[in-house]
Symmetry: C2
């Protein structure tokens, strides 16, 4: 039974939110409360005010270590005329917290008590009745309200409640949220994978988001694409939970049954929202409980969780939640968007020259790493075609503002050692971050020109004189005083499958019919290097099968070779090593970090420079292989 | 064995922190890591960078629902000259995520595929090779770094790790923190209490703070004041945990063994810190593990947790933590402090007339309610005698800034119905808070004069004409346009123990030798009422046993009667009812809220006024008893 259901709506976000709000008004889940032990109540929200059962203290207590007396027995005591008091007759010793017995109404601090003999003390100052006594109820009086309703319980509140004799509190129930991963292609994380299998990681993201928001996730096993089985599991989830999330099955593919099932069992309120990513979402209700169909792509799923599920959970938990902080930033690049959708573009932020620069990350809805790396996102409204480079945009922050300010932004050529550098930097300077975007050497130079980054990794050969990098900085950044931090000499070569099954030995083999090449993107140093060599040995790129197939990093092309999607690519030895590929060396090349002198002078790059020169980094490069470390960390000023 | 050990140091905070930092350098607890399942890793911090095991996707996958083809078979297709493709021969159907098999290199979206017959489709646009295909590693490439070390793992990170085939991560261990409540007077919460017993609530505050900070609390049972037993338990706690907190036993009382034991088993680094509250703290080390003696008073304990334990736990968990926000505010009252200590004064904040006003709360170290109510605290440095009213001080916030801005500040006469009002207000307006401080009617009027609050509960009789409140506002607030919100008529009378064992029938009985009175503070409406009646019937206050013994609320004096610390007090019927006391009515009186007209005009008070007039509030007052609700919520403008 392959139902085709390709017509989905494109309802604006606000309207979808409003329709959903209206629809869930009749839901039965908003007043669920339970009585729990105070000791287990951290961060839960009270459904009723809580009143003290007893007073604290519940007796008059000594507030000091010393002696308890009847004040009138020492009235008028002075330096000249001390009061002389007898143990047990006139006074008793008390420690802080001890009961003040009937007949006593003052405490004299031990420091003010002079021992005359074993039985007698002298007091040199007239006491005030009730001095140094904590009266009954000083802290909490029986029947007073300790905390009101709708109050999120803190550690201090727990102490006060216990002090007031309260052992149980009535709180809002944590919403039970069913998570149903669906799809025949899904496999549980950790299981062996065959081609076509997709690891179900979304459901774990959902579960952890729900936990973080104060709900109780209830993750079910994977449901195959079977209408009846899915229907049965949705019914079961509805009966066992307060909210149900069905993952995938919300677009219009042949195996997407979710909307049909919700319609059959209840009501589809919205199917298709004018947001990107996240369009094919379903907002429905079954049996007075919200049932949402969440798209399968992780980034789509994340935004639908953020826009629809979080507000719902917040309402159910009653926690007071802070909206994400928003800051203005300058977009580094043009961002084009469709008029049909409100779009969420993940961005990396950096403070360059005192202003926040937002650099868009990969926009594919399947790229969860764009969320891992993002500092926040820019919302592009419907009916807006996007932003020009240099426009001021509002960035909704994922991360702490401070972290954004403490990020060294690197844009440029990819090398796996940048990951290692970022790691060692952050380990040694916990408040400092290195963020790297891989757009190739020329992309890095352009980013420096636009003031989009602090440093750019580049390896650009000048074919005229065989030098690296200097020529390009002089050409493209002539208005900026620049320096080059030398990092490594690295080895470029042909990456081929283990054992080199196609017997590739040189660039000439790229012309062979049976050899599938995979290339790096235009503007990358590696692409320019390839073109330089092809030109030198007179090979026409049009003759290379795959010359136009481009990827952005050494590791991605290496992975394509590893997974047999291509036979060969040009890349660096450390990438081949990382993936266990064979390697035919072509040449060495120089990899530097280009940096405006002003950043060096501001001291911003000092920690990074220190890490580059460290023994720890050298050892890591040694392990990766393919790097020559002579002159590592040398700084060359260009003008 | 009663050791007296009254000499403790008074080391400045910074020096104590430095000494402790130095001393724990040799501790063995800072590099403890463990490998855990990714699914359990939410909010844990990586001890190593985490690299992808596999690529995501690990095969070339359809990025759209549609058909997969070899691109060259449709090269040149156009509106006029479509490509005609045969099922299985030229194309196969694919859904998003499906494998692109060998020999295919493009996907045509289903929307662009025109079905000619069951076996044939038409394509009207020439495809680009690799279009709508997610290449291997588009999201994550095997061996790339997913997250660095020292990174707190988020729900999105968990998804990315699982997508990258990572099932385990090495993270810093959650520090195990032993909590040892000590003291013969302590009893477990929920157990029956006898005089002198103190509920051990501190240890639960500690446990929940540790949980909140990401540690693993390990709460032990109560240890009695027995040197050998305590020593044994401390040794056991040290062997089973990373950090040990011993509660109480850190001052110089006769049963305070902690410092002696730490000295015997290890080293006391600091005993006695120049902070208030918190002075008698002990910072020690046993067996290369930090062992802290935390004072017994809950507020002292809280600040020592905040100043010493939190930084330690943060260092161990490696979480990035935000410092508490600080804001400038105007102190409403003079705050006097000793030159010997750095002092932390809990304050309530309100925005009155656009500026933050900080009103000090009760300063007793035993008053945990001062922490429950506090919005933050003011730090008074050593060598400063305090602040004058009107000084600008820095407030370190406990609560969210927004909540502080949305608080209606009430200062004035106490009535238990204010708790109920606060609760109903917050329940109906979740973003709105009512904070009440009880300083008596005259105190409330003075607070209004100083611009310290929005409203003041008052019940002040003019003996001349029998009217309430108006005379006093005209006298003390003549420069401000004022209004009175009428709330209730309430009944004042003598509160006596159930069954009235002393046979008290009128104010004349207060002069009896065998009758212990407890009074309200000067400036409270109830005190003024008492004086009015005593004067009327010619009773000399000096003849009343307890006339000088003052408390600040109806509930506190009622509690003293309940607990047999006094026989009688003047108070309101609802307080007597709340504590089950007998009551001899004396008179009715009018309780109003005084409010500057400007606040009424600003709309600030509207929600409160609405709640005062609500059926819900009326019913609550009915249940409490002793209130007459005629004219409730009536607003009277004075000028």
């Amino acid at each position: 039974m392959a139902k085709r259901n390709i017509y989905i709506d494109n309802i604006p976000l606000e309207q979808a939110q409003k329709l959903f709000q209206e629809a869930i008004k009749e839901c039965s889940i908003f007043q669920l409360t339970e009585s729990i032990g105070v000791e287990d109540a951290l961060n839960r929200v009270t459904a009723e005010p809580v009143f003290a059962e007893i007073s604290n203290p519940h007796f008059n207590a000594a507030a000091m270590d010393g002696i308890a007396i009847a004040a009138k027995k020492a009235f008028g005591a002075s330096e000249k005329n001390p009061a002389r008091l007898k143990r047990q007759v006139d006074f008793i010793h008390v420690d802080t917290g001890d009961v003040i017995p009937e007949g006593y109404d003052a405490v004299i601090m031990i420091e003010d008590v002079i021992q005359e003999d074993d039985e007698t003390v002298l007091i040199y100052k007239s006491p005030v009745p009730w001095q140094h006594i904590r009266p009954i109820g000083e802290d909490i009086t029986a029947t007073e309200m300790i905390i009101p309703s709708n109050h999120q319980i803190s550690p201090v509140d727990i102490a006060a409640l216990l002090a007031g004799g309260v052992m149980e509190v009535t709180v809002y129930k944590r919403p039970k949220v069913a998570i149903l991963p669906t799809g025949t292609e899904l496999v549980e994380a950790g299981k062996p994978l065959k081609k076509g299998d997709i690891i179900d990681f979304n459901s774990h993201m959902f579960a952890n988001l729900i936990t973080e928001w104060g709900g109780e996730p209830n993750r079910y096993g994977i449901t195959k694409d079977d209408y009846e089985e899915l229907k049965e599991n949705i019914l079961k989830a509805v009966s066992e939970n307060d909210v149900v999330l069905v993952n995938a099955g919300s677009s219009a593919g042949s195996e997407d049954y979710t909307s049909s099932i919700i319609r059959e069992l209840g009501e589809v309120v919205v199917h298709g929202i004018a947001i990107k990513p996240g369009k094919p979402s379903i907002l429905g209700i079954i049996d007075k409980k919200p049932v949402l169909g969440i798209p399968g792509y992780p980034v789509s799923a994340f935004f639908v969780m953020e826009l629809f599920v979080k507000p719902l959970i917040d309402r159910l938990t009653r926690r007071q939640v802070k909206a994400r902080k928003k800051i203005p930033a300058t977009t580094a690049r043009k961002i084009v968007s469709s008029l049909k959708h409100e779009e969420y573009v993940r961005v990396k932020l950096g403070t360059v020259d005192g202003k926040f620069i937002a650099t868009p990350l990969e926009r594919g809805a399947g790229v969860i790493m764009s969320l891992v790396k993002a500092d926040g996102f820019v919302t592009i409204p419907r009916n807006l075609e996007g932003y020009e480079a240099g426009d001021t945009v509002e960035v909704t922050l994922f991360k702490d503002f401070e972290n954004v300010k403490n990020t060294i932004v690197a844009i440029g050529s990819h090398d796996p050692m940048l990951d290692i550098l970022a790691d060692i930097l952050h380990r040694n300077y916990p408040n400092l971050f290195l963020s790297s975007s891989h757009v190739g050497s020329m992309g890095g130079i352009m980013a420096l020109r636009r003031g989009e980054c602090h440093i750019a990794g580049i390896h650009l050969l000048d074919p005229e004189d065989g030098t690296y990098n200097v020529t390009y900085l002089n050409r493209y950044l002539r208005n900026e005083e620049m320096a080059l931090i030398h990092v490594v000499e690295r080895t470029q070569g042909l990456m081929v499958k283990k054992g080199n099954p196609k017997g590739i030995t040189s660039l000439n083999d790229l012309m062979r019919e049976d050899v599938r090449f995979i290339n790096r993107q235009k503007g990358s140093g590696t692409r320019m290097l390839l073109d330089y060599y092809l030109n030198k040995i007179n090979i026409d790129p049009a003759l290379i099968n795959g010359y136009d197939r481009e990827e952005y990093t050494h590791l991605t092309t290496a992975s394509a070779v590893l997974e047999d999607s291509a036979d060969v690519s040009l890349g660096i030895l450390s990438a081949a090593n990382a993936l266990g590929l064979d390697f035919i060396p072509i040449c060495g090349e120089q990899y530097d970090l280009a940096v405006p002198v002003k950043f060096l002078e501001q001291g911003l790059i000092d920690p990074l420079l220190e890490v580059i020169k460290s023994e720890e980094f050298a050892q890591a490069l040694e392990r990766m292989g393919g790097y020559e470390l002579k002159r590592i960390g040398e700084v060359k000023y260009l003008k």
